[in-house]
C-alpha cells in the first residue's frame, strides 16, 4: 500500500506492507540507521524518532500511522543548532560510551529542551526513565542535560 510521509523535511512516497514498522522503513528503505533496534518492545527507547514533534518508539509504531505526518530522525536533528549544543555538552562530560543508546536519548530530549520543559534535575530523571543505557550509569548524561537545560545539576 502506498504511503506518503515526510522524513527529515523530505516528502517520500513509499510502497509499504500494512504491518511495516516505522523503524524498519527508516533503516531498511530509507537508509537512516540512526534509530537503532534493541528491545523491540517499547522499553529501551533507542529507536526513538519524532512524529509531528512527539517522540515515539519506532519499533512499535506502524509506518502507515506516520502517513501524512512529519518524521524526524537523529540524522535530521543533527543539522540543527540545538543538536550542536547538546552534542557539545555530551562531549564535555564524555556522557556516552558505546553510544548505541545515544540517538534515542537525543531524540527524546529535543522537544523537552526546545519547549523548556526541564526545570530541575528531577524533571530530567523522570523524562529520561524511558531511555535505557547499559554502559554509563546515567549520571554524566543527566549532568550534561542539566547544563543544556540550564537547571541546577544537584
Amino acid at each position: 500500500m502506498a504511503a506518503r510521509l515526510t522524513v527529515n523535511g523530505e516528502a517520500r512516497e513509499l510502497d509499504l506492507a500494512d504491518n511495516a514498522l516505522l523503524l524498519d522503513v527508516l533503516r531498511d528503505e530509507l537508509g537512516l540507521i540512526g534509530a537503532k533496534r534493541s528491545c523491540d518492545v517499547q522499553v529501551c527507547g533507542t529507536c526513538t524518532v519524532l512524529v509531528d514533534g512527539t517522540p515515539v518508539s519506532s519499533c512499535c509504531f506502524l509506518a502507515h500511522d506516520a502517513a501524512g505526518r512529519e518524521v524526524q530522525t537523529v540524522e535530521g536533528f543533527a543539522l540543527e543548532p540545538l543538536w550542536e549544543e547538546l552534542a557539545a555538552a555530551f562531549s564535555r562530560h564524555n556522557a556516552f560510551q558505546c553510544g548505541f543508546c545515544a540517538p534515542g536519548f537525543v531524540m527524546t530530549l529535543k522537544p523537552l529542551l526546545a519547549e523548556r520543559r526541564l526545570r530541575s534535575r528531577a524533571d530530567v530523571v523522570a523524562e529520561l526513565s524511558g531511555n535505557l543505557c547499559r554502559c554509563t550509569g546515567y549520571r554524566a548524561i543527566v549532568d550534561a542535560v542539566c547544563e543544556v537545560a540550564g537547571v541546577d545539576p544537584s
Partner: protein
Amino acid sequence: MRSAGRSLPRPDLRAKLSGEAVFGADLAEPGMLHVRLLRSVVAHARIVSLDLDAARQVPGVVCVVTAADLADLDPMWGHYVRDRPILADGVVRFAGEIVAAVAAETPAAAAAAVAEIDVEYDELPPLLDVTAAVAPSAPRVHSGPPRPGFACPPSAVFGDGNDFYRWRVAHTRVEPSGAEDKLVTVAHEYAFPAVYQYAMEPHAVIAEHDGDRIRVSSTCQHPFLVREELALLFGLPVDRVRVSVPFIGGGFGSKSYTKMEPVAVAVARQAGRPVKLVNRVEDAMVTTRRHGMRARMRTVADRDGRLVSRDAEIWLDTGAYADNGPTVTMVAGMAAVGPYRWDRVGVDAACVYTNLPPAGSYRGFGAAHLQWIGESQVDELAEILGMDRLQLRRQNLLARGETMIPGTRPIDADLAGDLAAVADRLGWGPPLPGRQGRGISVGVSPAGASHHSQARVELRGDGRVAVRVGTQEIGQGARTVHAQIAAEVLDLPLDRVEVVPTDTGDTPYDRSTGASRSTTVAGLAVQRASEDLRAALLRTAVERWGVDPAVATLAGGRIVAGDRSWAIEEVGACQGHGDAGELAAGGATMPLFWEVCVAGAQVTVDPDTGQIEVRRAVTAADVGRALNPSLVERQDEGCALQVVGNALFEEMRFSEEGVLLNDTLLDYRIPTVADVPHEMACVIIENGDGPGPFGAKGCGESVFGGLVAALVCAVADAGVTVRELPMSPDRVWHAIRSES
C-alpha cells in the same frame, strides 16, 4: 604530560550522537540474504524428524540449512571445549539451541519459512540445576570426554562427569594452631542467579564464504580468535579468513569469543551469497549469559581477630555448552580465597553442564559471584568477635608482595590504602540507626588475560597518524585512550591521531578485548609502536638533515633541533611497530596484574516493601595512572549500575521445563536512570604501579566484585541477611518477616 592523564572528550562521540556511527546491524552487502533461525522450544530432546519441504517452498527462500548439510565438516566449536555443534545434530541440549537456519531474500520471507519448519522432538528429562547435574545418578549432558578447544590452556584437565572442569587450591601456609575453643566459625550456603549482560546492541554478523575464502563483519570483542576458530571449523588457513569489526554497541563479555559467526558462515557457504544475521534480545539471552551458581563457604577466625582458614565449594552452571565456563570457574575459585593471610585455604570450584542456555563471560565474572560471599563471612566474624569490620580486614589483609595463591603473581597493589580511601569517602563510623547500613569490601581479580598484543603506528603523508591495534571499541573508550597514548609519545594534538577499526587482514594481532587489558596490554603495544615511530622520525632527521641526535626531539608535530625544525610529514610515510611481549619477560607469573575490587555502600531498607535504596556507592579505581580520568569514572559508574541490577533485581527465570520465562525487556528489568544511587563516587587511586603505559593498569570490571559485596554487607548491616541474590524486594521482605 599533554594528552595522557587528561579527561579529553572522546573523538568518536559526535558520530555516535548524530547517527553516523555504523554498528553491526547497520551494515549491508550487495546481494545479501537475511537469516532467521529455528530454535529449540524444549530443553532436552532427541530430534525425531525435521520436515523442511514447506519452508523451502516459501517464495524468496534460498536455502534451509541443518546439521545434515555440514556432513563434510567437523562442525563442533568452542574455544575452550569443542563441545558445540553449529546446528543441533540429532539432539537438542537447551531451549533456544539452533536447529535450522533459513536464508531468504527478505527478513519476512526468512521468518515465514522458519514458521513452516516442522520438528518432532522426543523429549528427555532436562537437568536444570547444578545440584541435580552433579548427582551421581544424573545422566550426562554430553557423552564422551571433553575435547579441548583451540584456545584451551595446555594445563587444563577435564573430567568425565557433568562437572567436567574443576579449579582447586589446597594450601597450608602454617598448620592452624590454637585450641578449638579459641576459634569462631561461620559456614553457610549461597546462590547467585543467571543474569543477562544486555549489551544494548544484540549480536550481528555479515558473512560471506566463496569456497576458499571467508569474510565476516561481526560485533565481536575478539576478532582474531574468531578468525582462528572459523578457519579451524571450515578447514581453511587462517589467512583466508578475514574478520572486520564495526562500532560495537556494548559487550560486557557477551560478544567475547565466537558466538553467531559459525552459523552465519555455514549459511553463507550453502547459499553462495553474503548473509546477514541479526539477533533479537530473545536470541541474545539464549546465546550467552552469566553463570548461575551455588556455593558453600566456611571461614574461621581466632578470638584475637586473626583470619585462620577458609574452605569453599562452588558449582557454576555453564549450561549446555562450556563457552568460557572453565575460565569463569577458575576466577571464581580465586575470588573465593580472598586477599587475606590465611593459615590454610581450600577451594574446589566446579564448572557444571546443565540443560540451560550456555553461560560465558560477563564483566567481573568470578569476583561478582564470590567476593560478596567471602566478605559477608568476614563481616559475620567481626560481629561475633565484637570487632569493627574494617579493622578485622585491615589486620589480615595481604600487603604488596605477599602471595594470595601459590604460583600466581604476588599482590601488586596497596590494598590497605585502597580500602582506607573508600572508607574515608564512604564516611566509615559507628553503626547507623534503624534500617540503614554500611558495607565495605576488598578483593582482587586476575586481569590482563595474555600479553599477546601488537600495534602499528603509521605516519601518513598528510602528517596525521594512524594507530592500528586490534582492541575493539565497545564503549569503554579504548580508541580514545590509545589515541592519547600515541599523541603523548609523539607530542601531537589528539585530533591528528586516528585509531583505525580492526580488519584482521591488516590489523596487527591482538588476542582479545576483555579482562580489563585494553589500556594495559594493547595500550603498551601502542606506546611501544609510537616510541618506535618516534625513534624512526628522529633517526631520519639525523641522517637526512645532520641533526645532533642528543638534542633532536618531537614537539607539536615537528622535529625540533635547537632553532631548526621540520614538520614530521617531511619525513614521508613511516611506521613504528610495538608489542606487549615484555609483560611476559622472564616467564612472569599470571595474572599480568591483579585488578583491585574495593568498594563501599550505604543503603536503607524499607521493612514494609523490602525495597533497598542505595544511598551511596563508593568505588575505588586503583588504575596506577588514569590516562583519561573521566573515562575511568564512566567505567566505574556504568559498572556500578550493572551491579545495582545484578545485586538487587536482575534474574533470568526458567520454567520447570527449562524454558526462559522472562525473555524480553518487559519482564527482564535492567536499571533505569531512576535506579542510580543517590550518591556515586569513584575514587581514582594513582600509585603509578601498573605494568601498562605510564604506570597504568586496567579497570572497569572490579566494581562487580567490590560493590556487590559492599551492598550485601550493607544490607546485612541494616539487619537483613540475604544469602541468595538478587536481593529483590520479595526476598528481602520475606527475610525481614522470618526474623521477627
